[in-house]
C-alpha cells in the first residue's frame, strides 16, 4: 500500500516516470514474465509455426500447410504406435508407482517418525546424479556378464539372460527415475489427512478398509493426483529410458520427435508430432486439474 502511494506521489511530480505506475505486483513479476516470454512462449510459437511449414523445409514463414499432420495421420504411417507405446508405458509406470509408493508414503507420513527424515534424504540423494549416468549404472547391472548375471552365475550357477533391451526394462527405468516425484506428493497428500478425522471415522464404526476408502483416500487424493500427473507427464516425455535401457526395442514418441529433428532433418514433422503430444498431455492435465483444488493442497483452506 505504501509503495503504491509513494509512486502515486512521484507520478505527479515526474510525468516521465509514468511506467512506474504499474502495480507493484506487475513490476515484481516483470523479470519472470520476460523470461517466460523469451524462454517459453517464443519457442512454443516457433514449434507450432514449424508444424505448419512445408515438410523437410526450414521456412517457417511460408504458406501454412497441414501436410505434416496429414503424414502423421496417414494409415500407412506407424508413428501412432510410438504414441500408444509412450502413453502405455507412462500409464503403466504411474500405476506401478502408485502401488509401490503408497506404503512408503504412509510410513513416511505416519509411522517412521524420527526416521522419516533420514529415509527422505536417502531417497532424494540419487537425484543429485545425472539421470543418464544412473541409467548406465543399471545397464552395467543388468547386462550379460554384468553385476546381476555374474553374481547369479558365481553363487548359484544360474544363467540370467540379459534383461536389457526389452519393454519391461523401460518401465522399470521410468519407475526408478520418477519414484520421488510420486512419493513426495503422496506423502504431502497423506499428511494432509487429520489424525483425529481418521480416529473419528473408526469411532463412528468404520472398519480399516472403510476408513481408507471413505476418509483417507479422498482426503489424500490431491497429493495422489499431483504425483500421478507429474510422473505421467515426465514418463510420456522420457526418452533416455527407452534409448539406454530399452536399446530401441521400442520407439517411443519422444524418440520419434528426436529422430525427426536430428537424423531425418525434418523439423516440420518433428514439430507437428510435438504439438500433438502437447495437445494430448495438455488435455489430460486440464481434465485432472478440474477435479483438483490447489488451494486446499497449499493449505489456504
Amino acid at each position: 500500500m505504501t509503495a503504491i502511494a509513494t509512486t502515486g506521489a512521484d507520478n505527479r511530480r515526474k510525468p516521465r516516470m509514468r511506467w512506474l505506475s504499474l502495480s507493484s505486483g506487475a513490476r515484481y513479476s516483470l523479470p519472470v514474465l520476460v523470461l517466460l516470454a523469451v524462454g517459453f512462449v517464443a519457442p512454443l510459437i516457433a514449434v507450432i509455426a514449424f508444424s505448419f511449414a512445408e515438410p523437410r523445409s526450414f521456412a517457417v514463414f511460408g504458406a501454412p500447410t497441414l501436410e505434416n499432420y496429414r503424414t502423421i495421420f496417414d494409415p500407412a504411417n506407424t508413428v501412432y504406435l510410438s504414441f500408444l507405446w509412450s502413453l502405455f508405458f507412462a500409464a503403466l509406470a504411474v500405476v506401478i508407482l502408485a502401488l509401490l509408493c503408497y506404503p512408503v508414503a504412509y510410513g513416511l507420513a505416519h509411522i517412521f517418525g524420527r526416521w522419516a527424515n533420514l529415509i527422505t534424504l536417502l531417497l532424494v540423494f540419487p537425484l543429485f546424479i545425472s539421470e543418464n549416468i544412473r541409467l548406465f549404472g543399471w545397464v552395467l547391472f543388468f547386462i550379460k556378464n554384468g553385476v546381476l548375471d555374474g553374481t547369479m552365475k558365481t553363487l548359484f550357477g544360474l544363467e540370467v539372460q540379459s534383461l536389457l533391451f526389452t519393454p519391461p526394462i523401460i518401465v522399470f527405468g521410468m519407475v526408478y527415475v520418477y519414484l520421488p516425484f510420486m512419493l513426495f506428493p503422496m506423502v504431502l497428500g497423506l499428511s494432509m489427512v487429520p489424525r483425529d478425522v481418521v480416529e473419528a471415522a473408526g469411532d463412528l464404526g468404520a472398519s480399516r478398509l472403510q476408513i481408507f476408502r471413505e476418509v483417507e483416500l479422498p482426503l489424500a487424493m490431491p497429493g495422489f493426483i499431483i504425483g500421478g500427473l507429474l510422473t505421467f507427464v515426465l514418463s510420456v516425455g522420457a526418452v533416455a529410458e527407452s534409448k539406454v535401457l530399452g536399446g530401441q526395442s521400442v520407439i517411443v514418441i519422444t524418440h520419434d520427435i528426436e529422430i525427426a529433428f536430428t537424423y531425418a532433418q525434418n523439423w516440420p514433422l518433428g514439430a507437428a508430432l510435438s504439438v500433438l503430444l502437447m495437445v494430448v498431455i495438455g488435455a489430460l492435465v486440464l481434465l485432472v486439474l478440474r477435479y483438483l483444488d490447489l488451494d486446499r493442497i497449499l493449505g489456504r483452506r
Binding site: 483425529d196 478425522v197 463412528l204 471413505e214 479422498p218
Partner: protein, 353 residues
C-alpha cells in the same frame, strides 16, 4: 440402585515410565451427565480416549453394563466421541457427515436420510443444511453437526473431549445450555471432559476432578463446591482465599503466617494442621470485629470490576485476600485505608492437605 452403565476398575494407562491415568475406579450411572475436570496434563483426555477405544489401557477394566470392553476395537464399541476439533469430514456434506455411522453399518439410503432429517430437527439445524458443505458452516453449526453425527446410530454413551474449548465465550455459554437441554431430551449418558470448572458446573449431574492421573474427588457440583476434599480441588474451583492453619486453643484454628484464631465450622478429630478456604464471595467488609465470627485487619489495596461483581484486594501483612461483592453492593472504602474483613465459620472450609 441399578447397575451402573459404565464401570471402571483400576483403569491405568502408562506411556513408558509416565503414568497418565492411575488406577481409576468409577461408576457412571445410566442417563447421567458426568464431567471429568482437571488441568491440562491431568490425564482426562487419555482416560476418555481409553473409554472410546482409541487408546489401549495398560491395566484395569472398562465394563459397559457389566460386559468387559477392553478388547473391543473402537469401531465395535456402542459408544461415540465428540472430538475437540470435532473431526468432521471436510469432503462430505452435513447430511453425509451425519449419515456416516449409519452408512458404515449398511443402513439403507432412505432410512439414513430420514434419520439425518430427524437429527437436524433435534439439533435445531434447518433441513436445508442437509446438502451444505460442512466447511461452510459456522462454529456453532459445526458443533451441532458433530453432535448429530455422534447421535446417529444411537450410542449407549457419548464422550466429549473438550468440544467447546475453542469456541468464543458467548457462543460457548449458549452451546453449554443447549447441550444440557439435548441431554435432557435424549436421556443419553454423557461423559464430558473439560478443563473449565465453570463449564462443568453449568452442565453436570456429577463431576470428577482429576489431577496428575488420579481421580481426586467425585461428587455433585454442589458437593465439590462446598466440600472440596483438598486444597487442589478448592483452588481449582476458582479464586479462593487460603489460610494455612494448625490446631489452636479453645477448638479454634490458629493461623500460620496470619495472626489470629479462627472459629471453624467443625473441628475434625485429630486435626493438627491444614488449610482454611474462604471463597471471595463469603468474605465481607465489616465495621467492628464483632460483626462476624472471624475477622482480619488489612489495607484495601485495589479493586477490579468483574462485570456484575467487583473484586477487592485486601492486604493482610504480606498476604492478599480477595473479597467479592455484587456491583449493587459496592464497598465505598478508599484505597490504602485500613479495613476489617470478616466471615462466619459456616462459610469456611477446612481441608487437611
Amino acid at each position: 440402585m441399578t447397575e451402573p452403565i459404565l464401570r471402571l476398575s483400576g483403569l491405568t494407562k502408562r506411556f513408558g515410565e509416565f503414568t497418565a491415568v492411575n488406577e481409576i475406579d468409577l461408576d457412571v450411572e445410566e442417563g447421567e451427565f458426568f464431567t471429568i475436570v482437571g488441568p491440562s496434563g491431568s490425564g482426562k483426555s487419555t482416560l476418555v480416549r481409553m473409554l472410546a477405544g482409541l487408546e489401549e489401557p495398560s491395566g484395569g477394566e472398562i465394563a459397559l453394563r457389566g460386559r468387559r470392553l477392553n478388547e473391543t476395537p473402537a469401531n465395535r464399541r456402542p459408544t461415540c466421541m465428540v472430538f475437540q476439533s470435532l473431526a468432521l469430514f471436510p469432503h462430505r456434506s452435513v447430511g453425509q457427515n451425519i449419515e456416516f455411522p449409519l452408512k458404515m453399518r449398511g443402513v439403507a439410503r432412505e432410512e439414513r436420510r430420514t434419520r439425518a432429517m430427524e437429527l437436524l430437527r433435534l439439533l435445531r439445524l434447518p433441513e436445508a443444511y442437509y446438502g451444505k458443505n460442512v466447511t461452510q458452516c459456522s462454529g456453532g453449526e459445526r458443533q451441532r453437526v458433530a453432535l448429530a453425527r455422534a447421535f446417529a446410530y444411537d450410542p449407549e454413551i457419548l464422550f466429549f473431549d473438550e468440544p467447546l474449548s475453542a469456541i468464543d465465550y458467548k457462543l460457548r455459554k449458549t452451546l453449554e445450555k443447549e447441550l444440557k437441554d439435548i441431554h435432557k431430551e435424549t436421556g443419553k449418558t454423557f461423559m464430558y471432559i473439560t478443563h473449565s470448572l465453570e463449564e462443568a458446573m453449568v452442565m453436570s449431574d456429577r463431576i470428577g476432578v482429576m489431577r496428575a492421573g488420579d481421580l481426586v474427588q467425585v461428587g455433585t457440583p454442589e458437593e465439590i463446591y462446598t466440600r472440596p476434599r483438598d486444597k487442589f480441588v478448592s483452588e481449582f474451583m476458582g479464586e479462593v482465599n487460603v489460610i494455612d492453619v494448625r490446631r489452636g486453643m479453645n477448638g479454634r484454628a490458629s493461623g500460620v503466617g496470619i495472626p489470629g484464631d479462627f472459629l471453624l465450622r467443625e473441628m475434625p478429630e485429630g486435626f493438627e494442621s491444614g488449610h482454611l478456604v474462604v471463597r471471595p464471595e463469603y468474605l465481607r467488609f465489616i465495621d467492628a470485629p464483632g460483626e462476624a465470627e472471624n475477622h482480619l485487619r488489612g489495607r484495601l489495596y485495589n479493586e477490579y470490576v468483574l462485570g456484575s461483581r467487583i473484586q477487592y484486594q485486601v492486604r493482610v501483612g504480606e498476604r492478599v485476600f480477595m473479597v467479592e461483592r455484587l456491583r449493587q453492593q459496592a464497598f465505598r472504602g478508599k484505597l490504602d485505608e485500613e479495613v476489617l474483613i470478616g466471615w462466619d465459620a459456616k462459610d469456611s472450609i477446612l481441608v487437611t492437605n
